[in-house]
Point group: C2
Chain length 210, copies 2
DNA sequence: CAAAAATAATGAACAGTGTTTATTAAATCA
DNA sequence: TGATTTAATAAACACTGTTCATTATTTTTG
């Protein structure tokens, strides 16, 4: 009775093929080149077939968001090696920003786009990776507050403040708002303004120069 | 020779009519209901006609961004009445966030969307209102730093940090990221988490409770 | 005033998009 | 083999932005 199993496996394989192609298209040509029809022609199936494996485009984008979190996790690997919570917080911020600027399409999908969240709401799915990253930030904030001997600050609020700041930086940078406000800030990475702001954030929050 | 003038005026009138309808559609039904064809049918002209008055949709969105800044300026009126720079900074943040959450479509156009910026780059136009608002923030930061007797902080970096934080909050809130990270934070306005974060920002930056 | 030139507006097409449904082809079951 | 279930698709629907040749309309000129 291995027939049903093979069938199941083949179904999963096509599903994965769709997601693979989707990831490929986003990586090579960006979000707005990703279309159902484009995926279909690339995997040599009809567009309608895709709807046998995903209920709509939002579901595919939701899955793509997860692929993005995999990339982010990979790029954050060595952050965990840092023992000082203060310096770790700084490194988290730095690699978060770096990721957001170097992988604009993935970043948008994960933190700035409505579609994947629509799927979550509609299907009562979860934003698991997002929550996990935030909780890690919260606990690192708690450690850092202790390390800097700073009291009277809620670690959860602090985490949200830090997240908002770096997210804001990435978002403003990616949508060309920084380039215009400050000419020194050339498009893309190595914008001195962003580094200075991150350092300033650490300084104002913990009275510690990193 | 008032003929050429009347012609000119009529051209401007149709141009303004297009922008007016665009604004109406965004206000009533949101950004993604705004289409060239929709505007065309509403003003009872053919879609092609619109291209005699605007070079593409990006230019219309650029103009819409400006309309958005008008709304923001209007909602920020009474902020300037506050004499304390510290409290003024807080009020700026508060009304910025309020505006961003209550006018999601306008906010996205102004601070989170690529299209209007494309037009700026392509046509060497200016993001005048955006720069003006940022410069006002910078000078208020300078005042506030003096008021709080805080030294060793660059007012420009500080302004960017504050902008990033509030922009981040609005952006995360509008794209449903906060609702999920914290259940207490119901969608839309009066999210206690946002208020607390804004207060925490003021406290960490100036050691002053507002 | 009539003919010519300039201007304004449009119909129709191009090249896309997401999604649905009735139909056909293939594989499995009895 | 024939019936039934499953998988895939062609075709259509309702949209999108944009372009261009063609048709009114208006203005200018002889």
């Amino acid at each position: 009775m291995g027939l049903a199993e093979r069938k199941e496996r083949e179904k999963n394989e096509l599903r994965e093929l769709i997601l693979l192609k989707a990831k490929e298209i986003i990586s090579k040509e960006g979000q707005d080149k990703l279309s159902i029809r484009r995926i279909a022609t690339e995997i040599e199936y009809s567009p309608a077939t895709i709807y046998l494996y995903f209920q709509d485009k939002d579901e595919i984008l939701y899955q793509m968001m997860d692929k993005g979190f995999e990339i982010l996790a990979h790029q954050m690997q060595d952050v965990y090696l840092e023992t000082s919570a203060l310096r770790r917080l700084f490194l988290i911020g730095q690699s978060y920003i770096r990721f957001g600027i170097e992988n604009q399409d993935w970043y948008t999908l994960m933190f700035n786009s409505a579609s994947p969240m629509n799927h979550i709401e509609r299907c009562k799915s979860e934003w698991g990776h997002g929550i996990a990253i935030f909780e890690y930030l919260v606990s690192t904030c708690r450690e850092a507050l202790a390390e800097a001997k700073r009291t009277g600050i809620d670690e959860r609020i602090l985490a949200l403040q830090m997240w908002s700041t770096v997210h804001g930086l990435v978002s403003l940078s990616n949508t060309q708002r920084l380039t215009i406000v400050d000419g020194n800030c050339t498009t893309g990475m190595d914008c001195p303004l962003i580094d200075l702001t991150l350092e300033n954030m650490m300084f104002t929050l913990f009275n510690h120069k990193i």
